[in-house]
Amino acid sequence: MNDVIVIGAGPAGTACAKKLAENGFSVKVYDKRAEIGAPKRCGEGISEASQNFVGKVPERCIARRIKGARLYAPDGRYLDAILSEGGLVLERKVFDKWLAEEAVKAGAAVQANTFISGLVKDTKGYFTGVKGEFLGNEFEEKAKVVVCATGAESPLRNQALGVFSKVNLIDSCIQYEMTNIDMDADLIHIYLSGVLAPRGYVWVFPKGEHRANVGLGIIPQDKKPKAYMDEFLKLHPEISKGSILEVNAGCVPVGGMVKDMVANGFVLCGEGANHVNPIHGGGIKEAVISGQMAADVIAECLKKNDVSKKALSKYNDVWWDERGNHLKRVEKLRETLERLSDEDLNDLVDALKPEDIIEFARGAKLSVLAKVLMRKPKLVGIARHLL
């Protein structure tokens, strides 16, 4: 019998598997994708500092190094923030495979193209394994702990814990990877506008001098993201003149982090637990962190031979202490920004200083936003509301 089966070989699953294997536990990771990391469902941007958790990313996983961010107000004015540390735009297909290889090097086994169709539960109410299918062959396999790292998309988390993403707390996204476009390719570009991207934003993340992920994410409206994207492209000939190399889509949870992520013999981590930064929808770093935290607690529980919900719930405590409460404040920040009209957003970008943007990207405190809003008489009311 395996000590642990991990469902999903995204950043959360492989980070968890790697840490468990390093501690001497037997771990198997299954992913339904024929190719790990592909097709991508991601803008592929992370901060350099994310490497403190992810590990030093090999050059082959990096499409482009970024110096900073350009934030556009609805009226087209913009502000540049040059980051001291910069950012990376990844090649997720290569990056996810690298993470999987790291887990394998540590001693885990990984298998792609394997769909996990169900969970096995014993009569005592413990999850004890999975049912799956590999190339037409159905199988059942046992483990002391099952880790669900399926991303937000899988119904397994719903079956085990009743978890799903709330439709008013997701960013419904569409993205084109485009080439032959013009932009400042040393910066990521963020466009704010309630008209162009209500309760969301448009991003351009350069992967080369003239190649970028051009995406749009919004809290679902009557009009579809695809229609908003068409509008954005119409206004930006320097981008729409390019060619589309890849079409991606997806829904990122930007709120509603799951309070209780464990059951007897079962742990949920990564985007499946809605562990995403609510201000920008970045989930790679959070996925890795929660996978690692889950691994630490699982290792402890396996050593003590107690994988009950009670023992595993230490993971809830650790995650909420170290990440959850912080992300909850970031969620509040997003809610406030969502309330701003385009006119307010123009004022906001006008009032921002480059260092504020850097703070925001890190998931700034509410007091930072309040300080910025205070600079504009019309926004003082909203600022007071925050404090």
């Binding site: 339904k32 097709p39 469902r41 769909f115 991303g151 937000a152 998309e153 899988s154 119904p155 719903n158 079956q159 799903f164 993403s165 709330k166 439709v167 997701i170 419904s172 996204c173 569409i174 679902p220 579809k224 993201p225 695809k226 079409v247 991606n248 889509a249 997806g250 829904c251 949870p253």
Partner: protein
């Protein structure tokens, strides 16, 4: 009342799966739909980034 999907428009992004409150959807090569579980709430239609799902209430 009906639920339908246009597989030519579907981008296999799994967005609908993540928001379905009753786990009636699953993404394999295509979206798999479990009619027995579905309550026709229309949430999957709302989340979809393109116009691939149609839930109509008559």
């Amino acid at each position: 009342m009906t639920w339908s999907i246009n597989n030519d428009k579907c981008l296999r992004c799994g967005g609908c799966v993540s928001v379905c409150p009753v786990a009636a959807l699953e993404l394999r090569d295509n979206i798999i739909y479990d009619k027995k579980l579905c309550t026709l709430c229309g949430i999957c239609d709302k989340a979809c980034p393109v116009e691939a799902i149609k839930v109509t209430k008559q």
